[in-house]
């Protein structure tokens, strides 16, 4: 195992790089800002590689732990560590940051340094969320990460960006406040500790567990987002620039789901069991109801945003079945969704950059002009519809199979996404890509350039790799997931 503080590096390299990029100033140094940003993102990604290679798959506990006092007066520590649950997300986050910087390369022409800096800083902050083992540290990162995303939407966004940014900010802030109260309560109950790992062992009465669970639920459900607190997401996606959408879908949505595994399940096992029916019901609503909503969207980004919500429904469903298949399937789904939805948003961005419209009706016959793009877009559309051999299949397959054992009708509702998901994905693809050239905008389209091809190509390889050979991804999860489930099975009521 490495002696370097890898997790700190994963957090602070991108933040530091972001500050350096910011220091390049105005748009006169735009190309320098881009190169520095890319270098920073790549460096940040490289330091996360040893997390994978040096990971001990037999160990279900925290690895690469760093512990130091931060605010001793309140026993708040700078306490970092990753287990099989969080490790993949640190790497995914660092990976997506490279994609995002590359995605904005030619597209963003104003405030270039600020744009790239915002993404780099956000990347570092989100690594902080995935690695924090201290409640307050987690909270600080959790809240701080809102700011760059808020700015990205509010500054580089579309015409209704201010409404979207406010909606996004207020929704998530509302959830966070309840979360903070819950943290305070746990601090007091545990006799003055903010250590998440200690909270895992803390006995709590059922009534208190239920209240805490609801507070966590609101905070995390907004982030996931779960029905019915999901309406900020389509607006945020529609207004966000392509890079913002990618980060939002690929990483930011994972924070809430991660919160369930790090806080709700292990700290409140009894309430989790007690209220699992509620969460499962909300998840299935997300899968079915949102699937139908996605079907009738006229805006491509909205469609993919709604499909994200439906896919995240599988994640929360998987968690609350309390089986290895369910939890691991949900985690796989989270990683896969990072690749696939990121790629989908990028594909839409590619078309938007050329035509400046996201309306499905403004397209048709794109394949005639962009055959390479159409082929790659097809792959991701199919992955979005959960086709085997793509990563999109693995998680859904595991969750559905796990659900059959849990309850046949839950599986039945979840499996309906096989049809609905295919319907909205392929219907959109048909209307946008196939057919005769629809109008002069499509007529003028040029196929993807090398940069766009490289981005989509890398994402395609990731999608296929995970679909054909998911074992390496689940292998690292086993020990931690098994520990978690063993832990959740034990009552904390005394």
């Amino acid at each position: 195992m490495s002696t370097y503080p890898l997790l700190s590096l994963a957090i602070w390299i991108p933040i530091f790089a972001g500050l350096v990029v910011l220091a390049t100033g105005g748009d006169r140094n735009a190309s320098l800002a881009r190169v520095l940003a890319l270098a920073g993102a790549v460096a940040a990604f490289l330091v996360t590689i040893p997390l994978w290679t040096g990971f001990d798959t037999a160990n279900g506990g925290m690895q690469f732990v760093e512990l130091g006092a931060w605010i001793p007066r309140f026993n708040i520590n700078y306490h970092l560590g990753v287990d099989g649950i969080s490790m993949l997300f640190v790497i995914l986050n660092a990976f997506v940051t490279i994609i995002v910087v590359a995605a904005g390369w030619e597209v963003i022409q104003t405030k270039v340094s600020q744009y790239n800096a915002a993404f780099l800083i956000m990347s570092g902050l989100m690594n902080g969320i995935f690695t924090s083992l201290d409640g307050i540290l987690f909270y600080v990162f959790f809240e701080a990460s809102l700011i760059p995303l808020y700015l990205i939407i509010g500054v580089w966004g579309g015409p209704k960006r201010v409404y979207a940014a406010f909606k996004f900010f207020l929704y998530t802030l509302f959830g966070s406040l309840l979360f903070l109260i819950a943290l305070m309560y746990l601090f007091i109950q545990s006799g003055g500790s903010f250590s998440i790992l200690e909270w895992h062992k803390l006995p709590i009465a059922l009534g208190a567990q239920v209240w805490l669970f609801l507070a966590f639920l609101v905070a995390f459900a907004v982030k996931v987002p779960m029905w019915p607190v999901h309406t900020w997401l389509p607006d945020a996606h529609v207004e966000a620039p392509t890079g913002g959408s990618i980060v939002l879908a690929a990483i930011a949505l994972k924070l809430g789901a991660y919160g369930f595994l790090r806080f709700s399940l292990p700290i409140l096992p009894d309430a989790s069991h007690e209220l699992s029916g509620l969460v499962i019901a909300l998840s299935l609503i997300a899968v079915v109801y949102i699937g139908f909503v996605a079907l009738v969207q006229e805006d491509m980004k909205k469609l993919v945003a709604y499909s994200s919500i439906a896919h995240m429904g599988f994640v929360t469903l998987g968690f609350f079945m309390f089986s290895p298949m369910g939890v691991e399937g949900a985690l796989v789904q989270m990683v896969s969704h990072g690749f696939v939805s990121g790629a989908m948003f990028f594909c839409i961005g590619v078309m938007y950059d050329r035509v400046h419209s996201r309306q499905i009706a403004d397209y048709g016959g794109v394949v005639n002009k962009m055959p390479k793009f159409a082929a790659l877009f097809m792959l991701f559309t199919m992955a979005n519809a959960g086709l085997p051999a793509t990563s999109g299949f693995v998680g859904e397959f595991m969750v559905i199979l796990g659900a059959v054992k849990f309850n046949f009708w839950v599986a039945f509702a979840a499996a309906s996404s096989m049809v609905i998901g295919a319907a909205y994905s392929l219907w959109m693809y048909k209307r946008v890509i196939f057919g005769d050239v629809a109008n002069h905008h499509v007529e003028e389209l040029s196929d993807i350039n090398l940069r766009e091809f490289a981005i989509l190509g890398i994402l395609a390889i990731a999608t296929l790799w995970m679909g054909l050979y998911p074992q390496p991804f689940t292998e690292v999860m086993h020990a931690s997931v098994n520990d978690l489930l063993r832990h959740v099975a034990i009552s904390k009521i005394q």
Binding site: T231, V296, P388, L401, V404, K405, M418, G435, E475
Partner: protein
């Protein structure tokens, strides 16, 4: 060890061919694309032959290639099961695929998507091989969906045609409905046997025969047998893939794809995946007579009612397509009668003669310069002799002429159903018998109209453009580069790359039945592969008692009912379409209501369009406009924002900005406080 490498080579060779032709389709010349893919499939075919011989020598194999995923106590592997059932399928798939590859050189000659097409059909071959070679449900599902994907890509191959891109989406979605059932079936298998490995599942299944599951907790009536539920769920998957009523609607539309794939995917191989799957699962289906009854009834409905639709079609490919549906129904009936080996036997013979018929139809289409309407043909035998003879062979095989391949398989199905006593077998027996007449009638209607009689081509033929009144989506059927023959122009025989596969397919269409029926249906060929509970389902046992060799069976058949029915079908169609063409027209007028019903394909498409497609869109609109926009956003989110705004608009009134207002308020405050302070005692 060496054999295992060979197993791996079979699917990988076509995959490599597909990748060469696909990834570099814009760079490489055409000859590279077709050479690479044909070489890949040829290698797969040769390897399949070697493996077949090895299996006949008794060397079966069941093992993993790699571990795909582990989770909890479950393990999912990619692996191969090589036994007689697998090798039969491998031979059929690689042989027909090879023929289609060669044929494509001629058929797609002028198409700009030449390389792409070769890539797709090789990719299909890979997927189909992975499907049939699988040793577990997970990989089966992989192949299952992968062939669906390639089918989707190929139906929509001409992606600028509105009908093609509608048909491919429809095909994919209808198949997904089947897969929805399929994955639940797989889930039940995993939940109760703890494994997806065939061998393990089949070993544990008999112990679960009395297990029941309760669909609604605490309700007596909702308790069903686990095996029945599992088998019906799995069979729903087969209904999608093998186009059984009511999930058959995608197959006729799939004719939008180029003809070679109609032969390969939508006749010979992919659509038979469902049949293969049920035969593979015979140890499960044998445990539930209820599920078998369900299977036999669905198969019987498909066999008969889809046959009727073949009678009124005028597009040459659609006649063959409805014939395929009907024959798939026959295979399904055989499965329901526990005659799994007969179903596979018919699958094999059908693969040869139906691929032949499709490729023959394609050859006619080339000769006719992409006119597909049989009313514009006639007398083609003079101009296209090879196509004529081979098509005749295919038609004779299809209708079950004694001693030809289709006879042995179809007659065995009819006999097996006659001996089956499960609920629904009586209806199925009637259907398959009546189907014999119907099959002979529509097959020879097409044959006579195309190859005999008056030459109707080379005339103005706009009329048929608007003939498919019943189905809006069909109106532009394949008429994109539809030219037809110019006045005075004659059809011509197609080049050797087209006719060679026809001849090579005609040979097994004639002889394979005679050769194979003994060992395959009544011998030990499928011993240890297909399991039949002879006590509960004794049909096959009785059938074997009556079998006295292929020759005797053929001779005996000359006096049997099916032969008389087939013969009368041919005679009636000859009389109707050669002798007295006014009769069919009169019948059509006389029974116009029936004709309209058939023309509209029993209104399945209309129903699906209105109820399912329309319903889903309506539901989406209601959820979106009503739920998300009106209630959640309008009422709750923006509503609470409005409440905040309203409260602050009131409180704002106190902040007037005038110093004397504030001073006055302060004075009142001080006054109140002082009063309270003074009066506190």
């Amino acid at each position: 060890m060496e054999m295992q490498k060979l197993y791996l080579l079979v699917p990988l060779a076509p995959l490599i061919g597909a990748m060469i032709a696909g990834l570099f389709c814009r760079i490489i010349p055409r000859w590279v694309a077709h050479t690479a893919t044909i070489a890949g499939v040829a290698i797969a075919f040769i390897a399949s032959v070697i493996i077949f011989k090895d299996v006949l020598a008794g060397n079966t194999y069941n093992g993993a290639v790699y571990t795909w995923l582990t989770s909890g106590e479950y393990k999912f592997e990619v692996g191969f099961l090589i036994d007689t059932l697998t090798t039969t399928m491998m031979l059929v798939v690689t042989f027909v695929s090879l023929m289609v590859h060669i044929y494509t050189i001629g058929y797609m000659q002028e198409d700009p998507g030449y390389n792409r097409f070769f890539s797709y059909i090789s990719l299909f071959t890979f997927s189909m091989l992975m499907l049939v070679m699988s040793n577990n449900f997970m990989q089966l599902f992989f192949g299952w969906e992968a062939v669906g994907l390639v089918s989707y890509l190929l139906i929509g191959f001409w992606y600028t045609r509105p009908t093609a891109i509608f048909a491919n989406m429809k095909a994919f979605l209808v198949n997904r409905v089947g897969d929805f059932g399929f994955i639940l079936g797989i889930g039940l298998v995993l939940a109760f046997t703890g494994s997806l490995d065939y061998a393990t599942v089949f070993e544990r299944a008999p112990g679960l025969v009395d297990t029941t599951i309760n669909l609604f907790a605490g309700r007596e009536w909702a308790t069903v047998s686990l095996m029945t539920a599992t088998c019906i769920c799995l069979f729903i998957g087969a209904m999608g893939k093998s186009a059984q009523v009511p999930l058959h609607v995608w197959l006729p539309d799939s004719m939008e794809g180029p003809t070679p794939i109609s032969a390969l995917i939508h006749a010979a191989t992919m659509v038979t995946a469902g049949i293969f799957m049920v035969a593979r699962m015979s140890p499960l289906f044998e445990l539930s007579t209820t599920a078998l009854s369900f299977v036999i009834v669905i198969g019987a409905i498909t066999a008969l009612f889809m046959g009727f639709l073949g009678i009124i079609q005028n597009d040459i490919k659609r006649v063959v397509a409805y014939s395929t549906l009907s024959q798939l129904g026959y295979m399904t009936v055989a499965l329901g009668a526990s005659a799994y080996s007969v179903a596979i036997f018919h699958l094999m013979t059908h693969a040869f003669f139906k691929a032949l018929l499709f490729l023959g139809a394609g050859s006619v289409i080339i000769g006719m310069h992409h006119d597909q309407d049989i009313r514009n043909m006639g007398g083609l035998r003079k101009y296209m002799p090879i196509t004529w003879i081979t098509s005749l062979v295919g038609s004779l095989a299809l209708i079950g002429t004694p001693f030809m391949s289709g006879f042995y398989s179809k007659d065995s199905i009819i006999e097996a159903v006659a001996m089956s006593h499960i609920p629904g077998a009586g209806f199925a027996y009637f259907s398959v018998l009546a189907g014999v007449f119907v099959t002979a009638f529509y097959s020879f209607r097409m044959y006579f109209l195309v190859f005999h009689g008056e030459e109707r081509f080379g005339k103005a033929h706009d009329a048929h453009h608007h003939d498919h009144d019943g189905d809006h989506d069909d109106e532009e059927t394949s008429h994109d580069h539809h030219h037809g023959l110019a006045p005075g122009q004659k059809p011509h025989e197609t080049p050797w790359v087209v006719t060679l596969p026809l001849v090579l397919l005609a040979i097994p269409s004639v002889v394979i039945g005679f050769i194979a029926i003994g060992p395959m249906v009544f011998g030990d060929y499928f011993k240890g592969v297909i399991f039949i509970d002879h006590h509960a389902h004794p049909a096959m046992e009785h059938l074997a008692e009556e079998f006295h060799g292929a020759a005797a069976m053929g001779i005996h058949a000359l006096t049997s009912l099916p032969f008389i029915l087939a013969l009368s079908g041919v005679v009636v169609s000859w009389f109707f379409y050669m002798k007295r063409p006014d009769i069919p027209a009169a019948i059509q007028r006389r029974f116009s209501a029936l004709h309209t019903l058939l023309e509209n394909k029993y209104y399945f498409d209309k129903f699906n369009e209105v109820v399912f497609a329309g319903g889903a869109r309506l539901l989406g609109k209601v959820f979106w406009r009503g739920g998300d926009v009106a209630i959640i956003d309008g009422l709750i989110v923006n509503g609470s924002a409005k409440v905040v705004g309203w409260i602050s608009s009131i409180t704002r009134l106190f902040q007037t900005g005038y110093v004397y207002h504030y001073a006055f308020t302060m004075i009142i405050g001080v006054f109140v406080l002082m009063t309270l302070w003074i009066n506190r005692a």
